[in-house]
Amino acid sequence: MIRKKETTGSAFRGARGTLVLAAVFALAVAGCSSSSSAGSSGGTQVSATAKQTIVFATQGLGSEGTATQAAVKAFEKAYPNIKVDILSLSPVSDVALQQLQQRFIAGSGTPDVITTDVVWPATFARPGWIANLTKFHPDASEFFPGQFASGQYKGQQYAIPWFINAEGLYYRTDLVKTPPTTISELVSDAKAAMSKDKSLKEGLAFEGDKYEGAVTAFQSFGGQLSSTSLANINNPANVAALKLMSDSIHTYHIAPQAVSTWEEGQVQAAWQSGQTPFALNWPYLFQLSEAKGSNLAGKTGWVPFPSASGGAPQASLGGDDLAINAKSTHQAAAWKFIQFLSSTSAQVARAISAGDPPAVQTAYTPALLSAAPYYKQEQVVFKYATPRPVSPVYTEISAQLQTMISSVLSGEETPSAALAATAPTVKQLQQTAG
């Protein structure tokens, strides 16, 4: 009997031992991954002349994707020792952001080069996820100043502009004689077009779904998001902008209730099917409208969206920057790739084939303007390009604004009540970010 007890005892100890071992192993694995993510630099750097492969994480479908592949091929031809693998990110910007953040939090050394929306660099720079590019001495004078500043955090450069984007108002030149410069003109033009042409389903299309696009639309309608405005977003200009978004649906009836669920894709569909005389969207749509075979070719105009509060128009600044993963061991090669993508020739090629407006000012060459004359009109809109706040907590601020806009567009809250309710949270977020 005593011996029997011993056996079960040792068996139990054995089982417990295995479990403890397994637990220690599991924790060790977890510990390794978290300790490696705590390391600050990318380890031993590979020289730019060595044979290597770098990974480039980027968004972009269709013509944008093709343009990226073409640029990569041209780069590989110029630098035969560097191979570039493309890692496709989600076309939905909020999802692409999460995909990048998850890789950074996991402490991955790839992707080496990333495409970052102009509102993300500060978010990536604060935890040390992307490399400080000041050491490569980028030339600020090449770029539009607003976009170059989007790559800065605490006075250091973390991202380089790739292509610029700004939201503007598309109008049908066959339905609207002169583009509106005030809101009342916009409303009356939209109403007039709708009553004249019964095939039109709405007078104005914009993206109002609960996502980042709602914030850029709000800004293009005249919303003030500078760092001083964020201290109290409940100001007259913001009330006017939010009220205009809401009124276009509920009072003027020029926008359908459905815009509160629309993203760029649906706005694009409404515009391209010819069912609206006005649409708020990004420059890529100009290239598509003017493309061969398009029923809108020669009928498309693009102007800054008139300000809701009557001030100077604002064109919400979008576009993409390029940055380098701080943990990448291929930073020299990655920088060569970034330099290549921001070279005039690569910028012009992308502008013509994908409709992405160059971030480099010298790329607006006569050759580009003759190949794609609409870039002349686009430059006018870019003049009013207004950046969203450069803040490490931008995502959180944006999430607050998205909920606020969504509740107003659906008619659940009045503009001033929604702004008053959201203002304290936004202020607090901004203060904690420092």
Binding site: T18, A258, A399, S410
Partner: protein
């Protein structure tokens, strides 16, 4: 009796003795030291074999649970670049005092009650219908169960397109039938959004309840129905006094699964409304997702997760209690 089992397992490890035949002492308590060692060795080998599975289980279930619990007691915004600091119960205090958690909890509970009720009633009807003999029953059964084989994300996206105000099927069908609501922008209002979510969720999950209940119906012996008919019971009496009581075990299994998965609803909300308009369809798991993946606030998100698990356990415990009462009756 209890001593036989270990000896039996030790058997195959013993060196084979050719020509020894069946060993009479084999099933008895091992006598000598060598046999003990072999027994221990054998056990060790067994534990080594299960160790990989145990390690994987610990790594993917226990470790995240503990890590999450740890998170919930810390201030940890991973995008802040600041190391996590001890927060005590601050995150829990936050979830019970802020204006996000409690409304989300109430919405989730409301949705759970309504969706499970509707799905159970329809599922029961489907199961009863499919249990009857008719031509082409196999085909109809397969057709009814197809939605359940569609991944939730896919069905949610599908229903989002169906509810599209301009190109969607729902408004087209309403218009065709001259019913009101043909011009509704479903996902722009609170109640219409909930209606759309309910339809999408019910379409995907009612078949599950129907499958489980159908299985339950099929094990009910036929002769008791014949006896009921002979006794002159009405169809309602048969259903109320025979079918329903005998179906209870299957019904409870279906209810437990559906209530828990309904309480944890995420995919449909994520795809169809993003928690909007405003935050009127923000359910608990969507709030948790936002905390983790938009704000990267692992402390607050951790507290919400722990609360989610706690509520799910309470729901499960409540059902288990109902089960026990049923057994006692």
């Amino acid at each position: 009796m209890t001593t036989q089992k270990p000896a039996a397992t030790a058997g195959p490890a013993l060196p084979a003795r050719p020509g020894a035949g069946p060993r009479p002492g084999h099933a008895r308590v091992p006598r000598n030291r060598q046999q003990f060692n072999l027994l221990a060795q054998d056990r060790r080998f067994g534990y080594m074999l299960v160790a990989p599975a145990v390690i994987v289980l610990l790594a993917i279930t226990v470790y995240p649970l503990i890590y999450n619990l740890w998170n919930s007691f810390h201030n940890d915004v991973v995008t802040s670049g600041v190391p996590a600091t001890w927060a005590g119960l601050a995150n829990y205090q936050r979830i019970f005092t802020d204006d996000l958690f409690t409304p989300s909890l109430l919405r989730t509970l409301g949705f759970t009650v309504v969706s499970v009720t509707i799905e159970t009633l329809i599922g029961l009807g489907l199961a009863l219908a499919l249990n009857r003999a008719f031509r082409g029953r196999g085909l109809v059964r397969a057709a009814v169960f197809i939605p359940w084989a569609v991944p939730t994300v896919v069905s949610a996206q599908l229903w989002k397109d169906m509810f599209d105000p301009q190109n969607g099927f729902v408004n087209y069908a309403l218009g065709l039938l001259h019913l009101p609501g043909a011009h509704t922008t479903w996902l722009a209002g609170t109640w219409t959004s909930w209606a759309a979510i309910l339809v999408a969720d019910a379409w995907r999950n009612t078949p599950f309840i129907a499958i489980v209940l159908l299985a339950g119906l099929q094990v009910i012996p036929h002769d008791i129905y014949e006896a009921a008919t002979v006794d002159g019971a009405s169809p309602w009496q048969t259903f109320r006094r025979l079918t329903l009581p005998l179906l209870k075990p299957a019904l409870l299994v279906a209810l437990i699964f559906r209530t828990l998965s309904s309480f944890l609803i995420f995919d449909v909300v994520y795809n169809m409304t993003g928690g909007g308009p405003g935050s009127s369809t923000t359910v608990l798991s969507y709030l948790d997702y936002q905390a983790f993946l938009t704000q990267f606030d692992f402390g607050y998100g951790g507290a919400v997760s722990v609360a989610l698990v706690a509520f799910a356990l309470v729901i499960a415990a409540m059902y288990v209690r109902v089960f026990r009462i049923e057994e006692a009756l």
